[in-house]
């Protein structure tokens, strides 16, 4: 109930503060409607893998699951600190959830050595999450090395997309992405 009240109150406040006179002669906002014109919203809904929508809805920061790394680098860059913090916060709030972090590398060099390099990337993300309060047993860091490239190309652009760690979620009931 509380959750529903807050947006309603906010809406009332915004209307109350509005000081711009509304010109009644201007055309009403045009809406393009299809069908009933109603967008279905499911509160607390789950996606097809049984995960809460806030983890997969493209509008949610938590749907951003990839952290990219520079060549030969294994530290989480500053531009991903907020992203990692959001995931850490989710894990702190939702203690039954677990994540699998998969580290990846570009294709150059030994497959097994790349597997170890990918591990360094996933370990770095894991450290960031646990420092921010996620429990050790909520986070597993593994490596896919060069074996699962996001971009199958063989140029610098492809390689930069493949130097990456991905965060996969699993719900307390065991459903999810891994």
């Amino acid at each position: 109930m509380k959750k529903l009240l807050i947006p309603a109150l906010l809406a009332a406040l915004i209307v109350g503060c509005s000081s711009t006179p509304i010109d009644e002669t201007a055309g009403a906002p045009v809406e393009s409607r299809s069908g009933s014109g109603v967008t279905p919203v499911t509160a607390g809904g789950l996606d097809s893998r049984g995960l809460p929508r806030e983890l997969t809805d493209p509008k949610s920061v938590l749907s951003q699951r990839s952290i990219y790394f520079d060549l030969d680098k294994y530290e989480v860059k500053d531009e991903y600190k907020d992203l990692v913090a959001a995931h850490a916060k989710y894990l702190v709030t939702n203690k039954g959830f677990k994540v699998l972090i998969q580290g990846n590398t570009d294709e150059r060099g030994s497959r097994e050595y790349n597997l170890s390099l990918g591990q360094k990337r996933s370990d770095a993300v894991k450290r960031s999450l646990t420092v921010l309060g996620a429990r050790e047993d909520q986070v597993e860091s593994v490596s896919l090395g060069e074996e699962k490239p996001k971009n199958p190309g063989h140029d610098e652009l492809a390689w930069s997309e493949n130097r990456r760690a991905d965060i996969l979620y699993r719900a307390p009931d065991g459903r999810g992405e891994f």
């Binding site: 699998l100 998969q102 150059r108 060099g109 030994s110 497959r111 097994e112 050595y113 597997l115 170890s116 390099l117 990918g118 591990q119 360094k120 370990d123 597993e140 860091s141 593994v142 490596s143 896919l144 090395g145 074996e147 699962k148 063989h154 996969l168 891994f178």
Partner: protein, 423 residues
Amino acid sequence: MPQIFHKILLSLALMAATLAQAQLTVEITGAGANRIPVAIANFAGDAAAAQVVTATVRADLERSGLFKLVDPGATPLDENVQVNLGDWKGRGADALAAGSLARGADGRMEARFRLYDTQKQVALGGAVFVTSNDQLRAAGHRIADYIYEKLTGERGVFSTRIAYVIKSGNQFRLQIADADGQGAATALSSAEPIISPVWSPDGSKLAYVSFEKKKPVIYIHSLASGQRQVVANFKGSNSAPAWAPDGQRLAIVLSKDGNSQIYAVNADGTGLQRLSQSSGIDTEPRFSPDGGTIYFTSDRGGSPQIYRMSANGGGAQRVTFEGTYNVSPRPSPDGKSLAFIARRDGRFQLSVMDLASKQVQILTDSQKDESPSFAPNSRMILFATEIGGRGVLSAVSSDGRIKQRLSIAGGDVREPAWGPFIQ
């Protein structure tokens, strides 16, 4: 650069259309300097069977790069016929093999042969191999091994098998084939990657890393039964298995305690013991043939280099010093050399170090060599490389002279592993 002596396309007799796609084609792109001229006569007896056997023997010897085939003429010669060795010497053959194929009382085929030295005018020996009809090529490989050993003094590897991974589309297949690429069979199909296959010393099993659980896990796979067993599925990554020569234990790499580190484990997954202790990456362990030493890759010195340590763990000594990227160490079965991949000017090239002199030789001029694997007689090194953006297997002799290429239509081939001698 070794000169290209000849270029021959072999291995085209396909049993079934479905096999065609999975068949490796072997192309010889270089040969030894002093090839032994040898004549393999058409074997007598059952003509169809004899054709399969003699074709296999000839192809094997030719592919090795150590022999030059002398035209034997069309007349079949069995192992008991009186041959005029002087004539054969006159035709340019240093050695001659003659034989026959006959169906035994139990319905199986018997392949008999005799090998002659035309210089010394003596018989070097002979043998009989009994096989079922669909194993005629295996009999040919056995005969080729016999001839190879008599004439070169080292054991042949024509009867051995190789394992490799094919990626086609999003499908990964771990395949087993004869050393000439024929008779390929799929041991494992998966929608997730399979890497790092290694043969058990008795040739009955493979250990490998499969990603089917969304993370790398080490399995042991019995080839005859198809039975699979998880050897290591600890938290984090499990990878880079290597068999100890006794077949009882494996060295593996785990990240469960932080960085990738080397551990030993029994083949049934019990008795885990940590072997390496570093704050960096330690991976790609391989046992020396006597089992006493483990070679591995480590970045403890700031760049990936090859080190060695006791198989019981403890202190490590650096082995490679040239360049900033030396990985994937593979000691040769004879213990004399170490194959590895070196990065030079941005190219990843198969290299070999003579362990006594520490002399390093770069064996290829390719861009993207990976995963070397010695033949059990230490003469050839099989490895993965890329040609025209496609994964192929190549083999090169440890002196760099003889070169072969094994490719598959419509697939990326990688992660080769040469199996042990067949007992």
